[in-house]
Symmetry: D4
Subunit: 248 residues, 8 copies
């Protein structure tokens, strides 16, 4: 809702085209629509074909299913994250077009076609155990209409594996680097490329990794520039941010 | 060094145009030049007019001065961060064109003109005490050729101050949000805009802020999407990353 | 037991109305009754109709049931917190008037009518996952005779939801703000109201939220004034304190 | 700005009493004035005689002095916290009516008379080293128009000292309990009174007190109900909150 | 083995009463027996009737049973701590005289009579949930031949309960004070008695108690003198130490 | 004040020997005198010749001097801990009999003769840097009338040094073991003796010792029984507790 | 691939023995083979008879089995760590020569004979609960061709046990010392030997051991020289490093 | 002292060649001399030409000077670490042959020639700020008779710098890798070499590096095998251990 829109309402009232009550109805939500809040919540998704996102952790299967139905009824694309197998068993019968990514623990339901970007997002992992988090990133970004290139298991302990893929990594407009344990991968990539690097620490590891704290601190202290960090295991957040940068 | 270049060398050897020893010399550095590492370190800066950056913390004034001289001799733009007043006293006599930002503790020396972007980076702070970190971000981004808009002291404790500037903030292609104490600003901004938000926790505060840990954790746990975090007080890192995104 | 009461005993001894042994019995408990300790433990609840409270975590179902029976026999209102479903199965047969709040994990048994305050306590949550803690607060406060207004799912990531309810929130004599993850809600509310805000961090979240530490630190470091904090997930404590303020 | 006010504007436009441009001006700020944000920042203080508060830590003496002048020029009562001796030397010459509390490190300048409450706030400390934090609380509350009773050095290691003052403590409408080291005082008081207790951990102590963390955790984990906690050494915050409760 | 014993061996060799080989056998273990190590491991228990102690956590039921058999065969009193119910099912058939303390999770088998001290150890808990740890202390101390007085559920949130038992507590030659959550009990007792106080933090609590860290820090920072602390939940260690002091 | 005393007062009232007002005066302080609190604060020291103790950290030199004067006027022995050199310069002129222990940072003033125990306290350190803390222990214990044996610099990195003194260490009725860095000394001693061991972690070390946390955790987790721990650098607390055990 | 090898390829091209395309194929992997990466990954194991290692934690049984098959097909010796019983049930049927170490949770399959060193590695544990970690070390080192001496349950709480085995421990070319709880063993050994000591903290313990943090900090702060530390419970890492030193 | 030696003493007593008292004197020290403890402290250094080492932190300049004199009088080589400039001013006059390494803060005094190894130790740093710690390592190792190769400023943010020196690094028999901030260097080196890597975290960095904790955790969690870690900034410890491995 632009300032022009406010003027239009006022003008229509002045000209007697609209009565006070109906104008009041339109204006009483002004604080939110003027600030674009509603775009964020509902309108944006419908207009852009962006998915609505449901974070299923901490919700019962019934609750998650109900929200998915509601959103599908509104014609939205839907992304559910941190889903359990049992939710998938229900959803796949309801929506045959639904796609389940077991590693990422996501369900995606595409109702609208989102054009795919020509530029791509590089999603990189240090080890195989980091792949579920990376898949959450990739699925999120793809559903938002981004081309994604997956480059997995190229951690710094065997750094030649990283080099053999560096051109592909570097070709992305933005790079998501996912790593647990020591978490050194984003810093090394940051020294090899001129692109924004989103670092995702994972809780993969044991002992003094303290459930991802070790990787998190490594990434925050990286000597290489151009790196920023999201929460431990937050693959969705990285995918959302990467999409904003890639499409920005 | 492209694969084509390797073929050329081999071809010239085959045709006797080049002997084995000289070809060996070219090929033995292959890993590095093929990967373009040197661009990262020196060539990139010279070519792009980007500044060379000196992190002065932990260096003596003599060491910092010597590095600045060396870089200026190479014709680079130079950015020195975390400088002490005493270093500025020396540098300002050597390079009259040098600019000192006392709040940011930076010295900038421009030798080459970098074209300024039409899009801009919004640099936002929660409080006045966060301004030095924000200025480090702003100075860095400007020297890299970015237009910067400063929106300071709009923390969430008086949230109407934030709203009165939200359109300016939202207009940036990327937003850097700097906050200490509770560190809630980036999360609130993240809920109001559709742009990447780089969150910079500062060590401003006391007691259970644990030198910035409180703000850092808040930012990592933000419910709003599109946010990532750099190290505590790392204004330079945020500026560098914002430039990559704004110019990307 | 007031000083007057001590004088009465002494006077009755002086006048021979009471012998030394019976006076001794009354006085030997003096330290406690004079300090009002017994009010806190037993008498207060009976007199005021306040519930007796049983914290069931760490107790067997048998133990909890036994304490509930004992208290009910004394005619008290009873509040059991952190109850398991299995305890409810037993209690509902014993006391048909018992009320079970599955989300809050509370059982309430009202034996005495407590008059309800005209002023109210606003109980606010950032997300839906914070509702169980908020319900523990609400149930506690209601059983203590407070009117409660529930305003749920108004977290700062979509801050317009908060604004649409701000007048209702602000109308409370005291506000309980419950939030996990980044925990920014109490600070934002604190900047919008002139009422005491009791902040309740929850363990909702993942990764670097460290089981509620993130929200706890955010709340302790809030820039807004008028905020204080209780333990992580301590809905009961917030409800008790809010009642003291609302009825104070 | 009530909904009625919006209707009035629309009505005046409809009736031609007001043109579109002027109505637009009134409506475009709707979100902020409707929410009363400005009251919070400036108007409230002027209207109520409440002091404006300057947190001087992290500001230069010049900056602090300038802000004090500005506020005094607006006729406000002024409270400056965490002031250095040198600031006081300047201010006392400018404003002869200024009061300096060396222990609390506060400067108070009263320009308006604030009526004093009949009820009082009990401010209690465990040790003598906690007094500066308690004085910050007391000075803040007094400047806000509250009667304050100071009960110092009654820590639990010599608990009879606490008992000899318990009636005075209990008489307050709200109690602020300040303690470092083990931080047990608020919990013991909480078991003896039926009033809200605001616990203030201090950084007093050494070794495993970790600059106040020990006292903070003790207070958050108190078994007694009716207690909430503010940041370490946050005497001002406790005073502000106590005033809200005492005058609420 | 005293120095006198070494001289005896040497003398018997000199006098030809003992040959070199047998003397060598006796002396080759000298470092250990001279230092009294064997007393600690085996001899001490046999001589004093002290139990041998088996820490069953981390051992299989088979391993624990085997060690118990071995020790019983040597005629020792036996104390097994942190036992599982299943171990008890086996042991009770083997040794009808075995005693199982379900709360303390201990099995005690008395083969030798240990005289009981006239002085006693006071074992005190703050809450009912602390009783299992306290029982481990009590069982340990009793098996070592100490008289024990149990004073449970006298935490500082209802401090009059503590006072009603203070004379009994104070009568002990040493006091073991067990508390979780805020852990304030030992400090309050330390201010009321002139006896050594062994503080045992427990992991009882939730949220910011961090599995006992809160109580541990409180106890370490106690303002009262005469207090020392053992590991979280270490009831056995407290009982062993209390026995050393009581019988010392 | 014993129960008999209460009966006496009542009897004298009954017999008209005492009026109600004077009896009231005696009885209204009952909680405190009955519990012997005053003994703890003042009377105990005077009666036993025990020193009064002043913790000077956080006090100005003027404040510390004033308290020392006050205590000396009351005829007490005085112990001041954590004193600065400048305080000593003042005190030595006032009280020629005062003794300054520069390492321990203590001032002791003996006004009354305290008989010395025949049994002794072993005070042991791992390194030379731990000596100041150990001296605080030793001075405290000596002023309380204990014989003390000092065994310094016998840390486990050169364990033969420990063995050469083990008989002297073992001869104490209680052992205070002071260690920084890894803090292993108390555990090794605990395995070699049958006496209570009070472990004192010190902040000596660097890096991952985290100001004494490393030594503290080591001591709390010691596998040897009979060990308890006081706060980091708390030499006074260890000395006080050791005295209670040695004289108990 | 040595520099000589590069020259050979160039020479063969020059002499027309090899065409450009085949030379290109060999050279395009140059960065990796020149740096010896392939040795690390694949070639080294085959050449040296070293096992390939599979870390099974976080892999499904199917995944682990598949990798084991693949490696066995390549003729490698194979070491699988952190295996579950169920994996062993599958593998033992496939490879009758496979060896399962239940304590260490390892499966070893020897396809090639690795000569055993004459020097040995001493693997020492403090307690019996540390044996699984130590066995992982021992199995790893043995499969790499090292002689290993196991010295278990010689912790410092009963230090004579350590002395009775010290000559055997000292005889190793390198010592691996495994300890949980207080973690003091490596430091004591470090003071008794002149050999490198690899310290392995284990998560054995409870309470303030914080899952191995206590032992980790103790080992890092050891006063004895010649000690370094690996991650908590990282028996494999210690075995690998010990092998490098023993065979170095 | 071998078992044979014990037999000799016994035999000489049996044959009357030695009386009981003198034999007793020889045997009573048995535990220590048999275990060779004295070698560790003094004899070893004299015999091997190894330096005696003085850790000067926490010692006064007078104390350090006195110890240096004492050691020099015994003819030892001497290494003093963490020395202040003022100590050097004194020592250089006393011992003209003394060598001061300002970066490493060490003083070395060579009295005996130690033969230098043919194999070498690679000492590597990530940045220039890590050099002081690395120099402490290098000076220590050199004084112990090791050849040292210094490879500085080759951190992973510009990884081609590391590659250009990798052959020199790899040539060492053992590698010491020193890094602050993110601490990723040792892990990357560990993936490129087949030699033991000693990782030294430094306190270099700011913000969430928490004085070296970040680098420490990274190194402990390294995915590459063959790495172990010493305390933060512990250059001496790394040098000592590297010498044990290089000369072992």
């Amino acid at each position: 809702m632009t300032p022009d829109y406010i003027r239009q309402i006022l003008e229509s009232v002045r000209q007697g085209e609209q009565d006070v009550d109906s104008a009041f109805e339109q204006l009483k939500d002004l604080p939110f629509t003027d600030m674009g809040f509603a775009k964020i919540d509902h309108h944006r998704q419908l207009r852009t074909g962006y998915p609505e996102v449901i974070f299923c952790a901490g919700k019962t299967i019934e609750q998650s299913e109900e929200i998915i139905r509601l959103m599908c009824d509104r014609g939205s694309n839907v992304l559910a994250t941190r889903v359990q197998e049992a939710l998938w068993q229900r959803v796949k019968d309801l929506y045959p077009e639904a796609e389940y990514n077991r590693a990422a623990r996501t369900i995606a339901i595409r109702r609208n076609v989102v054009p795919v970007t020509s530029t791509y997002i590089s999603v990189v992992t240090a080890g195989t155990a980091d792949i579920p988090v990376a898949e959450e990133t990739a699925v999120t970004a793809e559903l938002f209409g981004n081309r994604v290139e997956r480059i997995y298991d190229v951690g710094v302990a065997g750094i030649h594996r990283l080099y053999s893929r560096i051109e592909l990594i570097r070709g992305g407009r933005v790079i998501v680097a996912v790593a647990g344990m020591e978490g050194a991968l984003p810093g090394v990539i940051g020294g090899l490329v001129d692109k924004p690097v989103i670092a995702v620490p994972t809780s993969v590891g044991y002992g003094a990794n303290f459930n991802g704290l070790s990787a998190l601190l490594t990434m925050l202290n990286s000597c290489a520039a151009g790196i920023s960090v999201v929460n431990i295991d937050n693959g969705f957040g990285a995918g959302y941010l990467a999409s904003l940068i890639n499409k920005g």
